[in-house]
Amino acid sequence: MEALTIIRPESLSLSSEQVRALMPYFLVFGGIMLATLLAVVKGIKPKWPVFLLAVATAVVGVVASANLIPDATIGMFNGMMVSDSYSHFFNVIFMASAGITILASLRYLDREQLQHPEYYVLVLLSALGMMLMTSALDLIVIFIALEIMSLAVYVLVGFRRTDKKSNEAAMKYFILGSAASAILLYGAALLYGATQSTNIHEILKFTQAQPAGMTPLFTLGVWLVMIGFLFKVASVPFHMWMPDVYEGAPAPVTGFMTTGLKAAAFASFMRFFISMGYGTTLSATLQAHIHDILWVSAVLTMIVGNVIALTQTNLKRMLAYSSIAHSGYLLVGLLAGSGTPGGYSAVVFYLVAYAIMNLGAFIILTVISNREDTGLNLHDVSGLASRSPWLSFAMAVFLFSMAGIPPTAGFAAKYMLFYSAIQAHETPLVIISVLCSSISVYYYLRVLVYMYMREPVGSAPASRVSMWSALAVALMVAMTLQFGVVPARLVEVTKRAVASL
């Protein structure tokens, strides 16, 4: 019996291209380490140095990743990680949403007396986990990256430690999230048993090589991994955690979760979805099964999300249910992706548009809320237009965008998503989506009616907007309108990103 050759020299060193491709990760991690150190240096107040360093790290991360989007695909670490346009495109989203969350949090943390430097470090750590998750090609790495991302967010959700709701949300999220991670891990183990690999490209090769190898064990593994992802994107019936968590979490963290976390889960889900051979090499029966079950899940997600959102009076809860509904639309895009020329680019575009408008809406909620996130009910925003006209205008833009009314990014995104679904002959699904989408117009516009057409209740003073939050909101409004009017450039980039998959 000859000895195993385990250590291969090529897996022990990184070429210069690989180092270049890893730069965003190194830079962000360096920023995190430096921020952690700054937070504990004696004699200085950590607030400003850590805040500025965190913002700088996010900006550097955005620039470094954006630079790498046009580069060729490079595999790393024995194919466990890949640097392609797709991953760097999403890295830009994650770092941007982390940066904007940090900008919007400064005054919020002061007001809530929570100004601790760990907050900024955790936001960056979570974003780093998202970056790694999107570029991971191995189920083990996906799992670890998912845990990095989730652990940081569990703590952020419970950051208002003296608040009962925040505690409850963190606890619920932690327990359910851990269970979902365990299910994902179990699925990965079964897939390893069925295909002898945890690498998603190897699994794809396996399905191509032997269609007979798609045993029930394989199917079970695929389903358990998918359930793990479906939990993270909160599709029905794995959505129960979301409203409570969104309501209990500090408002800027909720904004971060709806954008970063959801985009990361979908980005990784899409990689897995394609790599198990959906639409290409998967056996017809298994494909039909997956299609039908996801079809039902998408429809239920849209209906439950939109209908329950109708009855909510708390804005955070309403946006939570609307976030569930948006997961449903994204699942529609996922189902249609393999049957259209544009592929999955409509889903990517939708994720970008959704991230922009939702981040903006949550920054505004952060600004207008009172202490301990109270004062976010519908009647609290009545007459907001007379108090803070600019905030109301921005909120109106975001709400129009979420409802999918031109000329906003939300309209362009929905148009492309539904168009791709029609091309893929998913007409019944599109009809249901459009109907659900028209339900959503009611609860989005109801907020507008309260803001513009109702008299203010009591005499609340105009909310003070910090320079940083104003900057972030202005940026989001500009982007929402820009991608709504001229989406072509973004479409090009999303197509290139998806082509590199």
């Binding site: 000859e2 385990i6 670490f77 007396q113 601790h116 907050y119 955790l122 990095i148 045993t215």
Partner: protein
Amino acid sequence: MDISPVFFYVFAALAIGFSLSVILKKNPVGNAFSLVMVFFAFAGIYAILGAHLIAALQVLVYAGAIMVLFIFVIMLLNADEPSFDMGRSHIGIKIGAGTLCAILFCTFVWAIKESPINIPAGRFTPEAIQASGGNTQVVSELMFSEYILPFELTSVLLLAAIVGAVAIAKRKLGKN
């Protein structure tokens, strides 16, 4: 070296039985000790699989170090039985959950029975591992070459956990 599958079933039954007792018992110290037994049963299963290093580490790290921490936490929290009493859940929920669990269990059994079990042996047969220096050497070489990325990322995960623990624990209530 062949080990009778009876051992597997014994250890598996122990693991499942004590896992149930972890979640069903209401005495926290009892839960902790059931958990120790689960860890020991896992160590037994690892040993049957020929992963002696993992079995030893399982006993040392989980059943040893981590359990001591658990017991410390239980002692410091001074949690008493009533705080574990969450009241009775609705009978309908119980029946529904039980039915779903049974269906899930049957699906698993079916899937595993239907799948061919003549999966070809991978690279790491006991003989090959013996020839290249034993479990410890092979595991450590793998960890620092092929699996270097997950290994390093685990340290990032631990950093996240440490920062998170500090963030939750250090703040004084009501003080900025």
